[in-house]
Amino acid sequence: MATQSEISEALADFQVQCNENERLRRMQRDWTKVLHIVAEDNDSRHTMTVVEGETTSVEEGLIGTPDIIVTTDSETLCDMFWGDLNPAQKYLRGELKLKASQEDVMRLDAINLIVWPDE
């Protein structure tokens, strides 16, 4: 089980990766969302805010009204945000749960694909 600080570390790295990726910034130029990231096996909760493609903040706790809620176990969250795990596989097996519009679900995976492209 990953701890809250491990997930925070993964999210901080993810924020850097996203903000430094020009292609991603271009694709997400009109994307402004609040994401709640919830670990279902411990109390870890995070809020990520994206404004016009830029990940402006990653904070501990659930803040504001989310557009997207990502729920899975803490290990999966860690691996996913470090880019070591393909979220589509977890999603298709029902192990990664999302609450969002279909467009946003698609975008979430697309972000992952662009930041860590399949070799």
């Binding site: 009204t65 557009d67 298709l92 698609m106």
Partner: protein
């Protein structure tokens, strides 16, 4: 808890219903509705629509239970996977998506005929209308434009209000009373009519991908039931209005060039005897003649409202087709994209448009498949008129198949995972899932007995999907796993793990 959190934007009940009903109500539904009317006697089509609706309602209850347990857009695959295994899930989900797409062939064909005859622009052949329409929908989808939310609600509810209102009006001014409304005739014919009736509801279950967009899963369950209700009322009234208007019209003027052509077509098809006295057609014979029309709704509204009626129905057909295609291909392309990301399809299908954030390769591939199937329908129609109806039965068969599998999944999951949370539970224990499984299995059997070509097509698709799932996918996954293993992990190792 997550369930207590509210999303900034959630889908409301009315959108759940408009999505399901809008998906089911396509242009080909009008033709299928008329096809159904020709199978039973008089104006008793509503009985077949009701029976089909009741069983679809029960199937909807199974979907509601499963969707509540696993509220995800990848639902159908996950439901089957949890109940059986991944290979079985891949097989049925792939067959479902592939054959559902093939219904597009019939839809494009009917819409093209509506545009060809309705617009009066006969310089453009029907197949070209079909190609233009498919390309237009592809462009819409690649740009990520989705007809959704309030706009979709307005379109869908306007369409249903118009259909219901105009049908009641048609019935009220009809020169003929309702004919044998409670006597459908031969029970075997009623079974056939119910099979076509199931096709009328095809797509109502596509509300389950909305499970991620609602915070209360009961909305999906309620939405499934309301959708069936809306569809039943609309189809039953539309069918009665259609036949009560057009059968007397053909009886009164069998020499009219349009009606005479329909009578000729019915004779050629064998639906009417060659030496029939055209001046003394019965109500049911006139109905048989009208049943040969690919665009019964255009003739109906022309008869009812003149040229204004044609304009309205052309617009409505376009709206019905665009909304069904738009939502259908977007959902299917995302499923294809997810499978490619999962390693179950070639990676090329996971390519994303940076400008529009859409899976453009998956969309182009799907549109190419739709186009190929549509052109195949045009070619078949050229050699054998009304062969597009086979695609209606194909769609009905595949729906029956997926309803059967869903009902079995409910039964298996109740035994395997009895403690899992179920926001909605199908009442009366195993009775309803068992009835659904048996009824739709029998209906599948009835369809293949009547149309063996359906069995051939489904068997071919099943063999291809089975071979792909059992032999090709494991190899692709192994390659993907090896590539991933070869990549160094980015996540820092824990000190405790390092010591271990």
């Amino acid at each position: 808890m997550v369930s207590e959190i509210r999303l900034a934007k959630v889908v409301k009940q009315r959108t759940v219903v408009s999505t399901g009903a809008g998906m089911a109500m396509a242009t080909v539904s009008y033709s299928a509705s008329m096809e159904l009317a020709t199978i039973v006697l008089g104006d008793s089509a509503w009985i077949a629509i009701l029976i089909a609706g009741i069983f679809c309602l029960m199937a909807g209850a199974c979907f509601a239970e499963l969707s509540g347990m696993y509220p995800t857009a990848a639902g159908i695959k996950i439901f089957i996977e949890r109940a059986f295994n991944e290979k079985v899930a891949m097989l049925f989900a792939t067959m479902y998506i592939t054959v559902a797409i093939s219904v597009v062939g019939a839809e494009t064909f009917v819409l093209a005929r509506v545009l060809y005859e309705g617009t009066g622009i006969t310089a453009v052949p029907p197949w070209a209308w079909g190609v233009v329409f498919l390309i237009a929908v592809l462009l819409l989808n690649v740009r990520g434009i989705r007809i959704a939310g309030t706009f979709q609600d307005v379109l869908a509810y306007s369409m249903f209000a118009f259909l219901i209102g105009s049908s009641i009006y048609a019935m009220s001014i009809s020169p003929a009373p309702l004919q044998t409304p409670t006597m459908p005739g031969d029970p075997a014919d009623l079974v056939k009519a119910v099979a076509v009736g199931v096709f009328l509801y095809v797509g109502f279950e596509w509300v389950t991908p909305l499970a991620e967009e609602v915070t209360d899963q009961r909305l999906i369950a309620r939405g499934l039931f309301l959708t069936i209700g809306v569809l039943f009322v609309t189809y039953a009234l539309f069918n009665a209005g259609l036949t009560m208007t057009m059968a007397p019209a053909i009886q009164a003027a069998p020499g009219d060039p349009v009606y005479a052509g329909l009578i000729d077509a019915a004779i050629a098809k064998g639906a009417l005897p060659a030496g029939i006295d055209r001046a003394a057609l019965t109500y049911d014979q006139a109905k048989q003649a009208f049943g040969t029309s690919v665009i019964p709704h255009v003739l109906f509204y022309h008869r009812l409202f003149g040229s204004v009626g044609i304009v309205v129905i052309v617009i409505m057909s376009l709206v019905a087709s665009v909304t069904s295609f738009n939502a259908g291909t977007l959902t299917a392309s995302r499923y294809m994209y997810a499978l490619a990301r999962d390693g179950s399809l070639p990676k090329i299908f996971s390519r994303i448009s940076i400008n529009y954030a859409t899976p453009y390769v998956a969309l182009i591939a799907l549109s190419g498949l739709c186009l190929t199937i549509s052109l195949a329908v045009f070619v078949c129609e050229y050699f054998r008129p009304e062969s597009y109806e086979i695609f209606i039965y194909l769609g009905a068969f595949i729906e029956c198949m997926i309803y059967t599998v869903m009902a079995c999944s409910v039964i298996v999951l109740r035994r395997r995972r009895p403690a899992e949370a179920r926001p909605y539970r199908v009442p009366f224990g195993y009775v309803i899932p068992a009835v659904v499984a048996v009824f739709f299995s029998l209906l599948m059997l009835a369809i293949v007995v009547e149309h063996p070509v359906v069995a051939v097509v489904v068997l071919c698709v099943a063999m291809a999907a089975g071979y792909y799932g059992w032999r090709v996918v494991p190899r692709m996954r192994a390659t993907a796993r090896a590539a991933r293993k070869a990549k160094p992990r980015r996540r820092p190792q824990r000190s405790s793990d390092a010591q271990a």
